[in-house]
């Protein structure tokens, strides 16, 4: 029996062939040159790995870079947080009270839990050293000596691989005391979670690292002043750290030029849903959605595009005609009324029922709410129960107004962003596909044909 399960599971093991080694990236930086076998230190060094680290430490024959110069370079690159919020990375790094004589921590958020997102998994699996190098550089820039990479529990084998990569880096002198003979010392540890979505929220992640139940803290104080064990902490996403070595090697302005103003560099999008070739696509910021959809082989089965959730499940849905005019960068998507988020692009074709789609999302948020604060704990369950009623033909005429109002009442009143994340899809769906909901309520049935 046990063996059968193992066999069954192995059928689902991603090989990366579909998600990442398809050669349809555009000017990739993080995914460049990967084939699934070349993740080890030697391979990474052969791709130019750890050159950025040597550069800042002055071990490449140059004069090295000061921490301020590193931060300035990152600021110049226009790199913005790849975890979803898009906060300028260089600015975040400059918040760290570098001179404060206390233990400071650097944390990598690899708790990639946003439904639809699978980009960080592929980075850690196929190019773990790029994240390690990025973290060492960040630690140097902020004067930090200890770091954690928090990897979510569902991808345990990737946690194990990362541990292996850490061992390689330590053995090669890239991690530990006096890195490459410099005065920079940095200890990096991998830490795995147990599968709670909320642990992707940075302060819940910190609590989890400390061994507590993963529940967000209220802010202020922010992690920059009160983070891991109450000490100054900087948290960035895996992809953000992954972008750093390229920036250092090629300079901030070069990175900015890859994308568009205020939206530097490349970004990895997880194309999921009704597309021919789902997978991760690394493309320059500002590439049009139409081109991205084309890379992914277009809508599955040649069907008509109905809607896209452009930035992971918590971003509001955009109907086809809106998204087709968008370019894939923070500003353009925000202007269209949604968010670039973590980069999970959920594509839905004309056969998708929006009520049922929302039901799945609402279930997810009700299930993942940590239960700490009232509006989210109570509100997410309420939303889910109402959407479920509507989906099952028990909707009432005033449900839509109530649904919208409950979502409105959750928004902006919770400790963390999960409340907003649960509310925004509801409001987005009601805004763009209200007629489908009305149809469900009035006719007790779906507008689109039943799924096959």
């Amino acid at each position: 029996m046990a063996r059968n399960i193992a066999v069954d599971l192995s059928a689902f093991q991603a090989t990366g062939l579909e998600t990442c080694f398809h050669d349809r990236h555009i000017n990739p930086q993080i995914y460049a040159g990967l084939n699934g076998r070349n993740w080890r230190l030697a391979d990474y060094e052969a791709r130019g790995g750890y050159q950025a680290l040597r550069k800042i430490l002055g071990k490449d024959g140059g004069e090295g870079m000061t921490p301020d110069q590193v931060i300035a370079e990152v600021k110049a690159s226009g790199l913005r947080g790849r975890g979803g919020a898009g906060f300028p990375t260089g600015l975040k790094w400059s918040f760290m009270p570098r001179a404060l004589p206390v233990q400071k921590y650097l944390v990598c958020n690899s708790d990639e839990g946003e439904p639809g997102t699978c980009k960080d998994r592929d980075i850690l699996r196929y190019n773990p050293h790029i994240v390690i190098e990025g973290m060492i550089i960040a630690a140097y820039a902020m004067g930090i000596s200890v770091g954690y990479n928090y990897i979510h529990g569902e991808i345990f084998e990737i946690y194990q691989r990362f541990e292996e990569a850490l061992e390689e880096a330590r053995a090669a002198g890239y991690l530990g005391n006096n890195i490459l003979g410099s005065s920079h010392s940095f200890q990096l540890h991998a830490h795995h979670g147990f599968g709670a979505y909320i642990c992707g929220e940075e302060t819940a992640l910190i609590e989890s690292i400390e061994g507590k139940k993963g529940q967000p803290r209220f802010k202020p104080p922010f992690p920059a002043s009160f983070g891991v064990y109450g000490k100054p902490t900087t948290i960035n996403n895996t992809e953000t750290f992954g972008a750093v070595p390229w920036i250092i090697r090629n300079g901030g302005p070069a990175y900015l030029e890859c994308g568009k103003p205020n939206n530097g560099g490349t970004k990895i999008f997880s194309m999921v849903g009704d597309v021919e070739r789902p997978g991760n696509y690394e493309i320059p910021m500002g590439t049009s959605f139409a081109q991205l959809l084309e890379l992914a082989g277009g809508v599955k089965g040649g069907k008509k595009l109905k809607a896209v959730i452009p930035g992971g499940s918590s971003s509001p849905v955009l109907p086809a005609h809106v998204i087709m005019d968008c370019t894939m960068d923070y500003d353009s998507i925000a202007k269209a009324g949604s968010m670039l988020g973590s980069g999970a692009v959920i594509v839905m074709d004309e056969t998708r029922c929006m009520v049922k789609s929302l039901l799945r999302l609402s279930y997810f948020y009700a299930h993942e709410s940590c239960g700490q604060c009232t509006p989210c704990r109570e509100g997410t369950g309420w939303l889910y129960k109402m959407v479920e009623r509507i989906e099952h033909g028990q909707g009432r005429a005033d449900d839509l107004a109530l649904l919208d109002n409950v979502a409105e009442n959750i928004m902006g009143r919770t400790i963390c962003a999960l409340g907003d994340a649960a509310a925004m899809p509801v409001r987005g769906m009601l805004k763009h596909f209200r007629d489908e909901f009305v149809h469900h309520i009035e006719h007790k049935t779906c507008m689109v044909p039943a799924y096959i």
Partner: protein, 770 residues
């Protein structure tokens, strides 16, 4: 200071304060549930959302720090809308069972729902059901669907009680408060969780369904059970005490009381009460009226004084009695020509400077503020739950708590340095600390000894403190070398600039000294009265077999007496007494206590005396009249108090822990020494008879604790019992391993019936496997 504008008013608050604090200061009420001034901030209920100018979203007042010039509106449209929406969320899954809910009428959720809720709900889905939990005899968790997940009880456990006994498991809507693996809540402060629960999720099990809150009259009182003098609100209906809750007093008990203070009232309504005077005739108890009983006592006393002389009369009193009672008892004994009166039944060393009233040495409130505290010979958590709580708060803010004692019992606070040794060596441990202090200060040590590592660490800590206290516990007070312990403590305290004092044993231990309930002119102390049995013994609120330093000796002494009169609210000393007189407990008489810090606190009776019960001071007054003694003409309890204490302002000058005894080390160790802790729910006559307290883990656990070496030597296994022999008596008790207990000691509780035959609290003892 920072100035902010709150609802149009300028408010000056300390930098780092939250908006909530500013509102409290400005007298502006912001609705809240999870915020509690004594607990850490959780900001999870979201009820206190207010509008802060320039902030895009409403901000929680409890967790938003003030900034200079901040403009806050707590009642603007934006704030009210946010608060109303939170209230709606809180109510959607809350059961509509207010009519049968114990919290109804005093429920924060109910009250705020009136202000912020709607008259009907928009929520028409199924409500959440949370299953009941069984957590022990004190707290009812039968209706956990009412819980609003504010986590006050969780934070109380973590921060105030010192152990996280309740926690929140699961996520989202399925979050629920529960104990770890269905355990019980065993904290000695657990009842406070009932008070701080803003809804009817945690309710009082003994009080459940006994009355509606609006039917209860609320009256102030003071707890007699420990020396804190916790202020109480006693809630009564139909002349019965139905509930006790804390009366907030930041200088004394803050907003907390111990479970002992809260649930002891059950004894006052129990069958154990004595409701009429009783005389023993031919070995049978007969109910009589007061005249008969008092005539009998007066005649018997006169007869004994006439035949044997006044010194044949002795009085033993509990310091849970009021000043007025103890004063009149002293007047009575002295009026008969005797000076044999004492309240220090558990003591073994009675050396005390004349007129010096021993006390805490520092204000109670300062216990929360000390940065160093050396606690000597104390079962701190069980003897003084609220003082322990204060020291815990000090420790949370960085104070170093140091201790010298025998047991490794967990005080639920970090202990910076500790010496665990047999009681006979406590003085030696203190002498070592003194020697280490002397070396550091370059002065002559009381005794030249080489300090051990822990003694050195204690000395180093004491010397580095700014606000330091040396505190002697109940075991140090009852110790055969109590005076030497005090002498060394005084020496150390003088060198370290520390205060020195006794925690104090009962609610009126300081008052008993003030009103001279101990020998003044060479009379016999409690120890001498038991060693040299008296012919007539007056027992006032005490049961010597449970309250004495040597129970076996007490039993013999009482058996040798011709007249034993038991003044007690209960049928107490039934075997030993010849007369039982029902006197009022603290709830049924006016009186006063002086607590450990010398604070005189008076109170009125809150219900009328049960049956034929009479206030003790009145009984003594009538007895004084019957005996024809002068000075028994008082008309009121206030008049007695004026004679007993004089002015409250004069108390401070009489407090002193000075001693002329010179510092000494320990005496030779016996092979196996008993360490007796007073069982928390065996400390006085009232708590002994409180059924719910007796059912708690602390109440049920009468066991002998053995150190690891002895445990191994006796070949004991979990669940085994041992035979304990002391004072010529052997009792069989369950044994338990206590790895922290000092070598050469056995911990055997006192104050409980199971050990009431044994001998001295710190005497030699023999233990074999049963």
């Amino acid at each position: 200071m920072v100035e902010i504008e709150l609802d149009g008013k300028k408010v000056q608050v300390a930098a780092g304060s939250m908006v909530m604090h500013a509102a409290e200061q400005a007298g502006s009420y912001i609705p809240h549930f999870c915020y509690h001034k004594k607990l850490s901030i959780a900001a999870n209920c979201r009820m206190c959302l207010v509008e802060v100018e320039k902030a895009p979203k409403p901000m929680p007042a409890c967790a938003t720090p003030v900034t200079q010039g901040m403009i806050v509106r707590t009642k603007s449209d934006k704030a009210i809308k946010a608060q109303q929406s939170v209230m709606e969320f809180l109510l959607i899954n809350h059961p509509l069972d207010c009519p049968i809910c114990d919290q109804g009428g005093e429920c924060q959720l109910q009250d705020l729902a009136v202000g912020y809720g709607k008259s009907s709900s928009r929520y028409e889905e199924e409500k959440r059901v949370v299953f009941a939990k069984e957590v022990g005899p004190l707290i009812s968790m039968q209706e956990m669907s009412r819980c609003i997940q504010c986590t006050r009880c969780v934070r109380f456990g973590q921060e105030i009680a010192g152990r996280m006994e309740l926690g929140m498991v699961n996520r989202g809507e399925h979050s629920e408060i529960t104990t770890f693996l269905n355990g019980t809540v065993d904290s000695e402060l657990s009842g406070n969780m009932i008070d701080i629960c803003p809804v009817g999720a945690l309710t009082s099990k003994p009080f459940r369904y006994n009355a509606r809150t609006w039917e209860l009259s609320r009256r102030k009182s003071v707890s007699p059970h420990d020396s804190t003098g916790a202020n109480l609100i006693v809630q009564v209906k139909n002349h019965q005490v139905l509930r006790v809750v804390p009366l907030e007093n930041d200088d004394v008990n803050e907003c907390w009381i111990a479970d002992r203070d809260r649930f002891s009232y059950e004894a006052l309504n129990s069958d154990a009460r004595l409701t009429t005077p009783m005389l023993k005739q031919g070995g049978q108890w007969k109910a009589v009226d007061w005249n008969t009983a008092l005539d009998y006592v007066a005649k018997a006393l006169k007869g004994i004084v006439g035949q044997q002389g006044p010194a044949a009369v002795g009085a033993l009193a509990s310091a849970t009695s009021t000043n007025e009672e103890l004063f009149l008892l002293g007047e009575l004994v002295r009026g008969l020509g005797s000076d044999n009166i004492d309240h220090r039944l558990r003591h073994a060393d009675f050396r005390q400077e004349a007129g010096a009233v021993r006390w805490l040495g520092t204000p109670i409130a300062n216990l929360s503020k000390v940065d160093r505290a050396l606690v000597v010979g104390s079962f701190l958590r069980k003897d003084h739950p609220l003082f322990a709580q204060r020291l815990r708060q000090a420790a949370r803010h960085g104070a170093q708590i140091l201790r010298i004692g025998s047991a490794g019992d967990d005080w639920l606070m970090p202990i910076a340095a500790s010496v665990a040794t047999a009681p006979s060596l406590w003085a030696t441990a203190l002498i070592e600390v003194a020697a280490a202090v002397a070396t550091a200060k370059g002065v002559t040590a009381p005794l030249a000894v080489t300090p051990g590592a822990q003694a050195q660490a204690i000395a180093d800590a004491l010397l580095s403190g700014q606000n330091t206290a040396v505190l002697l516990g109940n075991a140090a007070a009852a110790h055969p070398q109590a005076a030497e312990l005090l002498a060394v403590a005084n020496w150390i305290a003088t060198q370290c600039g520390a205060s020195v004092g006794y925690f104090g044993e009962a609610g009126n231990s300081v008052g008993a000294q003030l009103v001279k309930a101990q020998p003044q002119q060479g009379g016999l102390d409690a120890g001498a009265m038991l060693a040299q049995p008296r012919k007539a013994v007056l027992l006032f609120n005490t049961e010597p077999l449970l309250d004495s330093a040597d129970a076996a000796q007490a039993a013999k002494a009482l058996a040798a007496a011709d007249l034993v009169v038991s003044f007690s609210p209960f049928s107490a000393n039934v075997e030993q007494a010849h007369v039982m007189l029902p006197i009022a407990p603290f709830t049924e008489t006016g009186g006063s206590f002086v607590n450990a810090e010398g604070r005189l606190q008076s109170f009125h009776g809150v219900v009328r005396p049960l049956g034929e019960t009479r206030p003790g001071w009145k009984v003594l007054r009538v007895l004084g009249n019957l005996l024809g003694l002068p000075g028994f003409a008082q008309e009121s309890v206030e008049e007695v108090r004026a004679q007993a204490i004089g002015s409250a302002d004069g108390i401070a000058a009489r407090l002193s822990n000075a001693t002329r005894v010179s510092p000494q080390g320990g005496v030779a160790q016996v092979e196996l020494q008993r360490v007796a802790d007073v069982a928390i729910y065996g400390s006085d006559s009232i708590v002994r008879r409180a059924p719910s307290l007796q059912q708690t883990a602390d109440g049920r656990a009468v066991q002998v604790a053995l150190p690891a070496s002895l445990w191994g030597r006796l070949g004991l296994a979990e669940g085994d019992s041992v035979n304990v022999t002391q004072g010529g008596e052997t009792v069989k008790l369950p044994a338990v391993l206590d790895a922290g207990l000092a070598e050469g000691t056995v911990r055997i509780p006192t104050g409980v019936a199971a050990t009431a035959k044994l001998g001295a609290l710190f005497g030699a003892v023999n233990v074999v496997r049963a």
